[in-house]
């Protein structure tokens, strides 16, 4: 379960205050839904869509075994989609991010949550994440990890052309 509603996150390469409360109980659907900007688990969204739809600043989070196809038809309902990394070595979220951006054309905030580490930020960014709720306070150091490489071989979300099409 992610318990990640930190005071600050990284978004679009900057430290920003975290507005959202994240409801971390993955399967809890019979709960009182608080007011304000929320990120709800997929199960809650699916069970209580009628109630939730239309709320301003609503987010949903997916666990690593919940592929984004489950919300592909609802993307306009969310300002944030968060993808959980239950352990930092579970790499499914990288493919989910890519699918949300490239297959489902999601344009809003895509946030990584869970115990992932700053050394993964560069790859996450290339797959389509633009926000990171890190389990560390040292966000200034973490920001450096976003710029560890100056280029990359493959096409990706942030660069449509692979290097071989750009070499002089």
């Amino acid at each position: 379960m992610p318990d990640i509603s930190p005071a600050e996150i990284i978004r679009d390469g900057q430290r920003v205050p975290n507005r959202h409360i994240l409801l971390g109980e993955r399967d809890a659907v019979d709960i009182e839904i608080p007011d304000g900007p929320l990120i709800v688990p997929l199960a809650l969204w699916q069970a209580r869509q009628a109630e939730l739809r239309g709320r301003a600043d609503l987010g949903v989070w997916l666990d690593s075994d919940q592929p984004p196809a489950a919300i592909a038809a609802d993307l306009e309902a969310f300002t944030v989609i968060a993808i959980n990394f239950p352990v930092f070595t579970d790499g499914r979220g990288f493919s989910y991010a890519r699918a949300l951006r490239k297959r489902h054309h999601y344009k809003g905030e895509l946030r990584a949550i869970g115990p992932f580490i700053r050394d993964q930020l560069f790859y996450m960014h290339r797959c389509g994440f633009n926000a990171y709720a890190l389990a560390t306070d040292d966000l200034d150091s973490a920001l450096q990890s976003l710029e560890v490489f100056s280029d990359a071989y493959q096409a990706s979300y942030d660069r449509a052309e692979p290097l071989f099409r750009r070499r002089g």
Binding site: P67, R98, D119, S150, P162
Partner: protein, 551 residues
């Protein structure tokens, strides 16, 4: 061979800086050992039984003399003056210090080398035929395709945390010297019915505890689609491969669970998304890559004259004659030959080379060849372009440096993992077992009479020594704290790939040479004409061997 441009160089320099910072953070406690683990593995660094082990990438087994000299220098400066060449064409240092690894990587980067993705649950070094580009039996050089795959897989953002490690091999010859059918993906260059070059793609081969021959999921892939198709396979695997049990996490398990047809459909569904995208290879890129591997400026040599001169020398020099027969292979260019340097000298761990031996190989490559050296998955070194007229001089130099043992392709050309002497995963030692076999069968006449036999030894079921595909395979197992060895017979990693059949109960270490001898006796008694060990086994089956060993 491939030459880095400014961007390639900057990327590996940035990688060194990144790992220097990560190592520093680990040593100062800013990241935990668990967090550091995949970071160091993806830079080739294991923590082993006795010391860290660093696995240096040798992409598709091609090295320049300058790079090999650098490996020699590094092994002297940071290790004990030798390196171990592996079955995946890489080189391992067995005794580096953790603190030194960033400096070692910087040294490697100075000669366009690295240790990127040589371990960890990511796409590993792409391997190829060690005779690529010079083999008489190939369609075309597979290495431009290997380099295209290397660049695509290097720092691939989506596939750095796969369920498990992922290995790709490419071959383009009639004889599959790259063991493509036992890789996660085997890429085979073929000519389709229209006469055009195409790729045949195999998926889900592998050794380890669930050995499996790869299944064909595409028979005729147009070359420009190579990267998007590979990406689709990886995307299916990354999302659906098992992550709950590391022993069931390889793609072979997923392919088996889904069935080949469903797996193919899933790949094609992913592929539909990206086929013809910007990642589709351009003719310009394919040509650019091929230009790096264009044939060197061969001299026009009189092949017949060189052959008859060799024959005369061989008649008066029986040791040279043996070497010529076993360690020299046909080259596609008249007047040239491919020379294999045996790293299977009895008394030395199979695949080990000293810094001096590396330098000898580099010097010979410069003096007689075009400065290129290959490593093979048989754990030998290769000089790919030696004029036949220079073979005698090359042989003398190799002979003087313990690199001319005429045992290539023989029983004593053993493929062997580092085993329990070094590796913390191993259940049993493998190097002393290899040595005991080499000592027992040291009669060259006998060895050569046996013909080609592949004997492969792994110290545990992770199968780094490829025991399943040895004609004779030996697997170290632990029986209540004692080291025993289980034999398999009839494996093959050639085009007719097969997995060995278990002979029977495992046997004690001291009995291994006796058992090998009994197996060979059965073969020699039963073989017909020029039949190889493998052919005899396939004809007569396991029983005669089993009866003899367990009589």
């Amino acid at each position: 061979m491939y030459q880095y441009d400014a961007i390639d160089q900057r990327l590996i320099d940035e990688r060194v800086a990144q790992f220097r910072d990560q190592t520093h953070r680990f040593l100062t406690g800013a990241i935990t050992p668990e967090q550091f683990l995949p970071l160091r593995l993806q830079n080739g660094l294991y923590i082993q039984r006795l010391a860290p082990m660093l696995r240096i990438a040798i992409p598709y087994g091609t090295l320049s003399s300058r790079q090999l000299r650098k490996l020699a220098e590094i092994s002297r400066l940071f290790d004990k003056g030798y390196g171990h060449f592996t079955t995946r064409q890489n080189m391992q240092l067995n005794w580096p210090q953790l603190e030194d690894v960033p400096d070692i990587l910087a040294e490697l980067a100075s000669v366009e080398m690295h240790a990127i993705q040589t371990s960890g649950n990511c796409i590993r070094n792409t391997t190829a035929d060690q005779f690529a580009g010079v083999a008489a039996d190939e369609l075309e050089d597979p290495r431009p395709w290997c380099e295209i795959i290397r660049q695509w897989s290097t720092f691939h953002p989506e596939f750095a945390f796969l369920p498990r490690k992922f290995k790709i091999a490419v071959c383009a010859a009639r004889v599959d010297r790259a063991a493509t059918s036992v890789h996660d993906i085997g890429v085979e260059l073929v000519r389709n019915t229209a006469g055009e070059l195409a790729f045949r793609i195999l998926v889900g081969g592998g050794l380890g505890r669930t050995p499996q021959i790869g299944a064909e999921i595409c028979s005729d892939l147009p070359p420009r689609h190579l990267l998007t198709y590979l990406e689709a396979i990886l995307r299916v695997y990354n999302q659906h491969g098992r992550r709950d049990n590391k022993f069931k996490a390889r793609i072979k398990i997923l392919v088996k669970a889904m069935g080949v047809d469903d797996f193919r459909s899933a790949v094609e569904a992913e592929w539909a998304d990206i086929k013809d995208s910007a990642s589709t290879l351009t003719d310009a890129e394919i040509e650019r890559m091929k230009a790096f591997f264009a044939p060197p400026p061969y001299a026009s040599l009189d092949d017949a004259a060189a052959e008859s001169a060799l024959e005369r020398t061989a008649q008066s020099q029986p040791r040279f004659a043996r070497w010529l027969k076993h360690n020299v292979a046909a080259h596609k260019q008249p007047g040239y030959a491919i020379v294999t340097l045996s790293l299977k000298n009895t008394g030395h761990a199979p695949g080990d080379a000293t810094a001096e031996q590396m330098e000898v190989a580099a010097d010979l490559a410069d003096r007689y060849g075009f400065g290129e050296i290959r490593t093979s998955h048989y754990q030998n070194l290769i000089l790919p372009d030696i004029p036949k007229q220079d073979l005698y001089a090359v042989w003398q130099a190799l002979e003087a440096n313990g690199l001319a043992t005429p045992n290539v392709g023989s029983l004593n050309d053993i493929i062997c993992c580092p085993g329990g002497d070094y590796c913390s995963l191993a259940n049993a030692k493998s190097i002393p077992v290899a040595e005991a076999i080499q000592r027992r069968f040291d009669n060259l006449d006998y060895l050569h009479d046996l013909g080609p036999i592949e004997l492969n030894i792994s110290g545990c079921m992770n199968a780094c020594g490829h025991h399943h595909v040895g004609h004779i395979g030996i697997l170290g197992v632990d029986k209540k704290g004692q080291e025993f060895y289980q034999f398999t017979l009839g494996g093959s990693q050639a085009m007719d790939a097969s997995l060995g059949t278990i002979l029977g109960p495992a046997i004690a270490q001291e009995d291994v040479p006796d058992v090998v001898e009994k197996l060979l006796d059965v073969y020699l008694e039963q073989r017909q004409d020029e039949e190889t060990f493998l052919a005899t086994f396939r004809r007569i089956g396991l029983e005669p061997f089993k009866e003899r060993v367990y009589a």
